[in-house]
Assembly symmetry: C2
Amino acid sequence: MYRTKTCGELRIEHVGQVATLCGWVDSYRDHKGVVFIDLRDRYGITQVVFQADTPTDMQTIARGLRSEDVIQVTGEVLARGAGLENPKLVTGQVEVRGRELTLLNKSKTPPFEPRTQDLPNEELRMQYRYLDLRRPVVQQAIILRHKLAKATRDYFDRHNFLEIETPILGRSTPEGARDYLVPSRVHEGSFYALPQSPQLYKQILMVAGYDRYFQIARCFRDEDLRADRQPEFTQIDVEMAFVKQDDILSTIDGLMAHLLKELRGEELPLPLPRLTHREVMEKYGSDKPDLRFGMELICLKEIAENCGFSVFKNTIANGNRVRGIVAPGAAEKYSRKQIDELTEFVKQYGAQGLAFFRVKEEGLDSPIAKFFSAEDQQKLIAKLGARAGDLIFCVADTAKVSSAALGALRNRLAKELALYDPKEMKIAWVVDFPMFQWDEDEQRWVAEHHPFCQPHEEDIDILETDPGKVRAQSYDLVCNGYEAASGSVRIHDPAVQQRIFSMMGIQPEEAELRFGFLLEALRYGAPPHAGVALGLDRWSMMFSGTDNIRDVIAFPKNQKASDLLTGAPAPVDTKQLRDLRIKVDVPVK
Amino acid sequence: MYRTKTCGELRIEHVGQVATLCGWVDSYRDHKGVVFIDLRDRYGITQVVFQADTPTDMQTIARGLRSEDVIQVTGEVLARGAGLENPKLVTGQVEVRGRELTLLNKSKTPPFEPRTQDLPNEELRMQYRYLDLRRPVVQQAIILRHKLAKATRDYFDRHNFLEIETPILGRSTPEGARDYLVPSRVHEGSFYALPQSPQLYKQILMVAGYDRYFQIARCFRDEDLRADRQPEFTQIDVEMAFVKQDDILSTIDGLMAHLLKELRGEELPLPLPRLTHREVMEKYGSDKPDLRFGMELICLKEIAENCGFSVFKNTIANGNRVRGIVAPGAAEKYSRKQIDELTEFVKQYGAQGLAFFRVKEEGLDSPIAKFFSAEDQQKLIAKLGARAGDLIFCVADTAKVSSAALGALRNRLAKELALYDPKEMKIAWVVDFPMFQWDEDEQRWVAEHHPFCQPHEEDIDILETDPGKVRAQSYDLVCNGYEAASGSVRIHDPAVQQRIFSMMGIQPEEAELRFGFLLEALRYGAPPHAGVALGLDRWSMMFSGTDNIRDVIAFPKNQKASDLLTGAPAPVDTKQLRDLRIKVDVPVK
């Protein structure tokens, strides 16, 4: 070994010992012939001192040290003098007096230093990703991600789950318009596909008798990058046989409690809240509500249908919704101009407009207040539970639009008004999703979750007669406004599976072509089974308290940088293409 | 939950309890109105009995049960009568008297049963992989693989390593003739490449300060399938900074001891033997010797150069080698015809012929014995340490050919003569590989391991003058005749790296083009570092005692079968290709 201690290890009790440290020069300072070096590794920072009486050749090296040089230092551990301690460092009570110094590697002047507070643009950070990865905030997130994966594996292992690897090179199923395709050199004209999830494999594993499976699995989607999405991502994939929905939920409840305990030392009360899809759409206007704050959507039907404001009245008469939310204490915080911006904001979600009322001691203040009698104003205030100084927003529109607009507005207001602690994690289940959605474009029913999802037993009778009412045995785990896990009970009966396909307008021959291997497997002794998948990238971000996915992935893709580090795709030479022998007789646009 | 106990859980102490089990019908038997079911899950088999007094409707179901039907049974746990215990089952002292029975899923008649001793052909097994995966031997291997990965992660986590994910979608480096290429839809005309190993990423991680990295990583090679090789494979990938070769070796020694202890309850004496490349080539004719048996190659130069057999004499005179091995007690086990087969076998390795001698009490018996004086015969016997009843084989050829031929012959004879326990694992390091090999075709020196490998410090002076003698700081872990891990100390000095490239005839501009991102990273504070990669598939096979890689991978690729299960690539439709917009103006052969 080059070292006897790390740079985060020395404490007052080591005083008098001789230690050898290795690391990077974080900062240097030459003070009256004494050279001070802050030496850094991933464990911490230790101050190293070269006194004026250091031998000349070593002094020469010490004085020549610059940021990010890699050195090895041996010396005695000394207590820092009184008043010279650095309380910001865990090693801040000691320093190492350099007796031997080896320059292991000289660094070119770095374009930015890991300890900088003034970050350069992202492209430069990606180009020098090895420097960016030295920043303590990124290192902590990468370390946390390791701990998250380790604690997850410990939990599942302890509960008799097997981690089983499923293929990366699989077969494209015809629906996979966004699969990455991989031409094979060996099988001319044939392609593998990269998996969007191990869904089908894990169902096959259940049929094969591996009744408790999990995998931390890499998945792929050939889509454009977004701030929080990468074309390859990692999920904690889980499937169990001989279980019902409750068993999956309580298994994941246990995982969450284990993770909160291991990573944050927090106790998570169980079971986690289980809210129905209908309930969260009504209360929060979203199927992934942020539960760190209240500000629930409140139905104003009874007031609206009899009030003097025709927009509200007509909306109800047309069978649509009028709902409101209360932004606490916000009456004076939003100017008219800012409210106009909020109006533009809700229009992105399809709303025609945004009604607002400032709540005063004496009643409501609003351009439309005149349409509401004093009594209606008091009813409105009472129904919404508003108080003087609050700001009320209402949207009158279809259920869908009013949910989308108020749900989004709710999140925006809570953030702007700092209604929650950004480090808190509020986790809950949303259950009973609708089985089908009507696709206006295609004029057919499509699966809300996926077509292998089991309907509620009591809704199976209305599958064909009232599909819009059929609830699926599917569930999402939501955290802080994100869908952080999603799963369902799967169909294990080929006859039910066939009815679902029919509902979606998929003919038996087509079903065989697309999912034949699964349908066939279900015929050879498939147990009842259910599963769930959790986004590891998302959970890493939430536990780290970062909004930037690039903090939790060592080598993220980047739109512009195109070297190996940031992994953007690159053109390849003609020889390689020729080797592939791709049979393309398609004129390329 | 559908069950209260698994099929491997009930013991004599559960007698009197009521249990609910779920599983597959492994076998059924109707004996005088009593139905006996062996119910199976991955935990074991439990006998379930439906007595003649069972209600009629349940009896009807019970009598209709056939292999691989999935059922749920509730009943009382009873002790089996004296003499009726089944000592082959851990649950063999008890049975469950069925009181409730639910047919969870009926199975079609399976093409083969998991308990069959008479396996069908591999193609059928792959087509019905979910049935094949139910076979206990495969289930045990898949469970062992999970334990192997878990124990590996526990070990590295305990030693402060971080598991860090590296990309699957990376960039093709121009040398990667066998990379899988992945066309991107989003970046028209650009391709990702799937990694053959995370080598470059892990070196970058060392530069970035993550001084103890490991990953159980998926890697890819676009090559034909072999019995023991898949186009995607899994390796335990390790890299450490501020370490020397010894540190890597002792870290992996510790891993091996941990695995042997966890998976087999065996104590592994440490340190593992460390043999030089020169030594194993001399003694075993192979750089991955099987050390479960002796049968070392013995140099016969002194006898050969003075004997009357001109083939031996001339071989030595030409500067080549005459070496022999002794097959103990084999003199009468191999007929002349069988020895002729062995001669054909060594010819595959380039040998011109194979000399043999049966050792008798009175001397050697061989067609060429007449060329050896009685004294030379005794010298030969003494030098080889042979005894009456042994069979001696000699090869006279170049060092390379005699090593290859005798090394292969040694393995074959030991297997045929059953000289070792096939379940034993003999693990050792081979170190000091040559840095370069002379490539006759290309007329240049090529790297034996890879071009990022650090030469021995004391050999750096002869880098340019005597490259054939330069030893690399590289090492293989060998087990039972397989290379089961491989690694090296990496170059962290860009100047040394440049000299290695020059030696290999790679010009600076070309080096920048191919490895520029790494060379650039080395200039920004690269610590000394070293690493190793272990084949998880290989270790799974060795721990499971199987030669078939399909026993340890849930969904292996298969040459012929081409459905999703076995993951052979398949043609895709024209629309998908058009979407890819691959710019191919190359006439396809």
